[in-house]
């Protein structure tokens, strides 16, 4: 069930250049049943910035009633958020949307997790869950450069991990797709999150017989009411079909959406 809660900041730290990791505590955590879901949060108590910001859930600790998110401080909202300190409160709405189906990979199978930039965070909880049920995970993480990279060791602790940076300052030079191709990485299922151009390229790799991608779009309500975040389904004879990224997604089956 969707809840709105004033959650308490447990910790916040800058883990890479302008990249923040924030852990929040509250009863809302009980409702998070799947990796890849997101929260819609008010970055400040003030009237401005007005709108909520959608941020993915990167790690869940049900026993502590905590979840962690990782975000880039860029505009007014995320910058305000980055000023919060342990003990402060954040108005969180969530959990929202449909996440990554862990059940799509069977124990013993291999899952290929491909993330780009701030699309990497939700793959972390996904990888933890997959590993818990005995799925082997291969991670391919793309970043702009070394300064912007994060969580590479955390992923490495869970499975084989490749890093690609645009400028080659960390891992291999190039895009995540270059890395997948170069190493001939394959899996039984792939999961991906990142910029749309990347997801498009990832779908074309056909690195697994089935896959799931997580999309981003500018949002109003975050719950499916305002039609701000629609996308076209791949199959749409009438031209009026649509999917809402906030409530039908953000995770869709590869091939389901016209990218």
């Amino acid at each position: 069930m969707i809840q709105k809660e004033l959650m308490t900041v447990v910790s916040q730290s800058e883990i890479a250049k302008n990249i923040f990791e924030m852990t929040l505590k509250g009863a809302l955590v009980d409702q998070i049943d799947q990796p890849g879901k997101f929260v819609h949060l008010k970055a400040s108590e003030e009237m401005m910035p007005l709108l909520r910001r959608p941020i993915s859930i990167a790690r869940i600790e049900h026993d502590k009633q905590e979840f962690t998110m990782i975000y880039r401080a860029e505009g007014a909202g995320t910058t305000a958020l980055s000023r919060k300190q342990a003990g402060d409160q954040v108005d969180v709405l969530g959990p929202l949307g449909h996440g990554f189906p862990v059940e799509a990979a069977a124990p013993g199978e291999t899952a290929l997790l491909i993330g780009g930039g701030i699309g990497v965070p939700p793959l972390y909880e996904l990888s933890r869950r997959l590993n818990q049920k005995g799925v082997k995970t291969i991670h391919v993480l793309g970043f702009q450069n070394k300064e912007a990279a994060f969580y590479t060791e955390e992923f490495a602790a869970l499975g084989e991990t490749y890093v690609a940076t645009v400028d080659g300052s960390l891992g291999e030079q190039g895009f995540v797709t270059d890395v997948v191709t170069k190493h001939g990485l394959r899996g039984d299922v792939f999961y991906s999150c990142g910029p749309t151009v990347m997801l498009k390229a990832v779908e074309k790799l056909h690195a697994a017989p089935k896959g799931f991608i997580s999309l981003e779009e500018r949002m109003g309500c975050g719950i499916g009411a305002c039609f701000a975040c629609v996308c076209h389904p791949a199959a749409d004879e009438t031209g009026t079909g649509y999917l809402k990224i906030c409530s039908d997604g953000p995770v869709f089956k590869a091939g389901e959406v016209a990218l």
């Binding site: 007005l50 309500c221 039609f227 649509y242």
Partner: protein, 303 residues
């Protein structure tokens, strides 16, 4: 004592607070959060005859104290709105105001005729002011004579009272209000969004794919209050006021300006529980200020 119950043409309202059209879909999503029967009414998303996908994304952008939207009247079309959405809404004890849109008179007439027959639709809201569709729409809302004629045609076929939603993007709002009053409107809802724009400094291009969009939220409240103040003094029609309402003080301000009832748009995105919260707070506010009924405050700023 019931300080909030209100009778308006076609509408027996438990309270004068309702979500504004386009900010609440058809209620399904919000029904997960609270009981829709607590609302005074629901102004459903604009309905057109044929299904519409609307504009390309991005469709929303943030501005200082407000937001821009260019949804483009996306909706599943008259037939499905009646069969799926209005049918589903019947489980709630809440009168529906159906927001009707189109590109030409015939479209409006057709939608109005059919949708006004639906049992839980107690009033229509003629959307002659959507700034986000190219053909028609906005023209109906900026030319008095056109607005009057459209109102007349819709009145002829509608089985329920007709409220006309005014656009703030006009030189003379009173003239528009009088025109729709002449056309036979039973009430006015105001304001729709102001036309605005944001440019993305990185790309150098407009943030919205539709380029311009409708500005709403707290930033526009002074414009909305001013227009309600002017129109309420110059027409005899009841007014459902909106534009930047997010607190009980905002509701009181609209009431003092001359509004009978109050619609909440953008604030639903900031706090999805805002409507039921405001209903409770409004009751408390009136009690604390010894006001027996919300209507006592109406137009006090000019009376």
């Amino acid at each position: 004592m019931n300080r909030l119950a209100l009778e308006l043409p076609g509408l027996s309202l438990k309270n004068p607070v309702m979500p504004a059209s386009g900010c609440f879909g058809f209620g399904r999503e919000f029904s997960q959060l609270f009981d829709l029967s607590t609302l005074g009414s629901i102004m459903i998303k604009a309905t057109t005859e044929a299904p519409r996908y609307g504009n390309a994304t991005p469709r929303v952008a943030e501005t200082p104290g407000g937001m821009l939207n260019a949804i483009g009247l996306q909706n599943p079309g008259l037939e499905r709105v009646i069969a799926n959405e209005l049918e589903w809404l019947k489980q709630f004890d809440v009168p529906i105001i159906a927001n009707v849109a189109g590109s030409q008179t015939e479209d409006y007439v057709q939608v109005a005729k059919e949708i006004s027959k639906v049992e839980n639709v107690h009033a229509l809201e003629l959307n002659i002011s959507c700034p986000n569709v190219k053909t028609g729409g906005i023209a109906f809302g900026t030319v008095p004579e056109t607005a009057k004629e459209l109102t007349k045609h819709v009145k002829e076929v509608s089985e329920v009272p007709v409220y006309v939603k005014l656009s703030p993007n006009v030189t003379n709002i009173v003239e528009m209000a009088k025109a729709v009053e002449d056309g036979g409107a039973d009430g006015i809802t105001m304001i729709n969004t102001l036309i605005g724009m944001r440019i993305d400094l990185k790309t150098g291009r407009p943030v919205l794919s539709n380029r311009t969009g409708g500005l709403s939220g707290p930033a526009v409240k002074p414009v909305a209050v001013r227009m309600v103040y002017e129109v309420s003094q110059q027409t005899n029609l009841p007014i459902i006021g909106m534009g930047g309402i997010s607190t009980v003080e905002d509701i009181i301000e609209f009431s003092l300006a001359g509004a009978d009832a109050f619609a909440i748009g953008t604030a639903n995105f900031v706090n999805p529980f805002v409507c039921p919260e405001l209903i409770a707070e409004l009751d408390q506010y009136l009690e604390a200020h010894n006001v027996d009924h919300i209507s006592e405050l109406k137009g006090r700023s000019w009376k």
